[in-house]
Amino acid sequence: MTALRVTAQALAVPFALVVAVIVQLTVVNRAPLPFGTGPDLVLLTVTAVAVCTGPLAGMLAGFAGGLALDVAPPAGHLAGEYALVFCLVGYACGRVRNVILHATGEQTMVTSLTVMVLGVAAGEAGKAALGRLVSDPDVTTVAIRHVLPAAVIYDVLLCPFVLWLVSLALRRPAPERAPRPEFTQVANVFRAASAGAVPRLRLAGSTPAPVRAPARAEPKLRLSSGGSAPLSGTYAAFSPTRAPLPGGRTVKLNFGQDGHAAPGQWQRVSPGKGWLSTGRPAGVATPRRAAPGKGWLRAGRPAGGPATRGTSPPGGWLRAQRPAGAPAVRRASPPKGWLRAERPAGAASFRRASPGNGWLRTGRPVGVPTGRPMSSPPRGWLRVGRPGGTATLRSMSPPRGWLRVQPPAGARTLRRRSPGNGWLRPAGSGALAAPRRGLPGRGGARPVRQAQVPRSTAPPKGWIRPAKPAPPPKRKSPRKRWIRPVKPPRRSSYGTAPSTRWVRHSHSPWPGRRRRLLALVGGRK
């Protein structure tokens, strides 16, 4: 069945071209139509094929059809004229179709028809122009003025019909979907979201509707499905679990002691080990609570401290512990309950000016210099995307304060040259941000070292980083550039957010989801 279909589709285009040529010569040209001319069925077929398939098939069909019209008996023009024109038209139509498909991710009948109409008009004009160029005595200015408008009108009238026929013949077995890279971009945004960027945003349909737990029990930031079904296999891998810490150190934010997942299993797409699980000092008995389960983000408590302090939320739950004497955080931002890292006294207060919109913002850890000018984005802000996908999540180092534990005093700061694409990096998950030996932590959150990861050129595990961006296409010689338009270097699909245009035009049955997506990528509604 499939082989039959493929064969039929491969033969459909030549067959359609031959039929078009014969019908054009024996019927259309002989018919006493008004205005003394008629449609060009071959041109219509060529543009329809180009719009339905692409530039290569379009120009091959154009050349073949044009050549057939050139040499079939009553041809009164030079051989090769129509082959040239139709070849160019087929290529152009296919190219425009591909560009539109790439930009919007889908192909609708309206855009196809528009491209086809333009191609047909260009083809008719090209026929006349080439006739003038080779000084065909038949193609006079008077004749062009007489024939060209009528021919274009006939062609345009026949466009939908021919397009329908050709698309019927060339229909793919499965409906075309949005190209995969685009989808991966969205998925990555969602992944980032579920990794903590936008805690309330979940992949629609992937989890049951969140059950409203009692207010005191509900952490705002859910990193995995605590009690409910796991988000997916991907996220199940970093379901936070508690693990004992060596050395009895107190850890404020222990990002993901993952004792279950096989090491390295999901580490390239999801935060690896060391992500976002609250550490608890070793040896402290686990307080029994209904919800949230173990490992929910919570601020640590010093070892041996009292279990609960107030009614709700319980001490240590996702609240900034303000040390005595610290300036009060203004309540406007960040919203309450959002993940906020502990701010010790003396840290710079939050800036409220930008970016607003409820973007997640975390505090700045201790000891991180704030000398960098707050151009944009301000440090500590998580930026999810920007229309056009440029400079998404771009910063030299992980944004300060974002999902990063405080390095102990004297710990080496993160290397500036990596991570490459500005991706988040959980501090301390690898060897790069390892505390120097012998220097004790200061009681703040500190990275937990999983193992001695050998230093290598490869990024340490635990980085969220995409696969390596494809190397720019090699250009053999600079001379090719005059033929080939310079392509923008292919960017990593992880490094770019989905384009606003794509999101806007994506075929989503849920307008709310689309709106959220738009808000996520920072586009206009």
């Binding site: 010569l25 024996t26 040209n29 205005f35 120009m59 040499v71 009164g76 070849c87 007489h146 080939r484």
Partner: protein, 271 residues
């Protein structure tokens, strides 16, 4: 599936091939081998298709062209009456010359091969394909006519088909003679649609000759009857367009043959 990689090289190859074809055909003045191959390949297919299409087309013509045929017959009557009137006016000597010429043509040693139109050219070229070729004895540069008058000349011949360039084609120039006065000139096509609108363009070689509307134009004839045999009626002068003081007389000629509804044609074949 490396379509993108192949697109540009293939495009360049195709464009170069097309330009080479154009160049070759241009150098051969439209008579390169490509046309011959195309005629051999597509000719039989067109013959078959034409055999299917022609009855339908004639039916449609008959159905849609009823009033037109009536009007045409009335006009023909009118023309005949007017011609009788003018014939009575022209000199007896001229009339004798004309009848002699026509009788000469009709009694000449020419043979006519009948063929039907099976295909027509595009919007800009006035060419048709007929269902007879070299196997029926047709050769290039032979006169094609129908019951009304001159149609054109054969330009290319394949095995079973031939291409006819109509007299309305802008490439076509016919040596003509004004019946009665004997003035000679050239008749140039203006394109089919334009011919239907205004007519063919007549240029007389003599500056002193006088042209009047209603004069009949016949072919002057070529050496050996190629491409045009003598004495085939072409059309009537409808409008004299020459400017005062111009060196040549020009006029528009309405052809007798209906070029938009050609059916059965005859090709004058020399024995």
């Amino acid at each position: 599936m490396n379509e993108a990689r192949w697109t540009r090289p293939v495009l360049i190859v195709l464009l170069v091939a097309a330009i080479a074809l154009i160049t070759l055909d241009f150098r051969a003045a439209g008579g390169s081998k490509a046309h011959g191959i195309g005629a051999e390949v597509f000719g039989p297919v067109e013959r078959t298709a034409g055999a299917v299409v022609s009855p339908v087309e004639s039916l449609i013509h008959a159905a849609t062209g009823n009033q037109g045929a009536e009007i045409a017959s009335l006009q023909q009557q009118n023309d005949q009456l007017r011609a009788q009137l003018s014939q009575a006016q022209i000199s007896a000597q001229d009339q004798a010359q004309l009848t002699q010429l026509l009788r000469l043509t009709s009694a000449s040693h020419y043979k006519v091969v009948a063929a039907t139109v099976i295909a027509a050219g595009g919007a800009y070229s006035d060419t048709v394909t007929i269902s007879a070729g070299s196997r029926q004895g047709i050769a290039p540069n032979e006169t094609v006519l129908n019951g009304d008058g001159l149609v054109g000349t054969v330009t290319a011949v394949a095995g079973t088909t031939a291409t006819v360039q109509l007299a309305t084609d802008a490439n076509s120039t016919v040596g003509v003679e004004v019946a009665g006065t004997g003035e000679i000139g050239a008749l140039t096509g203006t394109g089919e649609t334009m011919a239907a609108a205004q007519g063919l363009k007549l240029t007389l070689f003599s500056a002193t000759a006088t042209l009047t509307a209603g004069q009949t134009i016949v072919t002057f004839g070529s050496v050996g009857g190629r491409p045009y045999v003598a004495g085939v009626p072409i059309g009537q002068v409808t409008q004299v367009t020459s400017q005062p003081g111009s060196l040549t007389q020009t006029a528009l000629v309405k052809p007798f043959a209906d070029f938009t509804g050609l059916g059965v044609l005859g090709v004058v074949v020399s024995r």
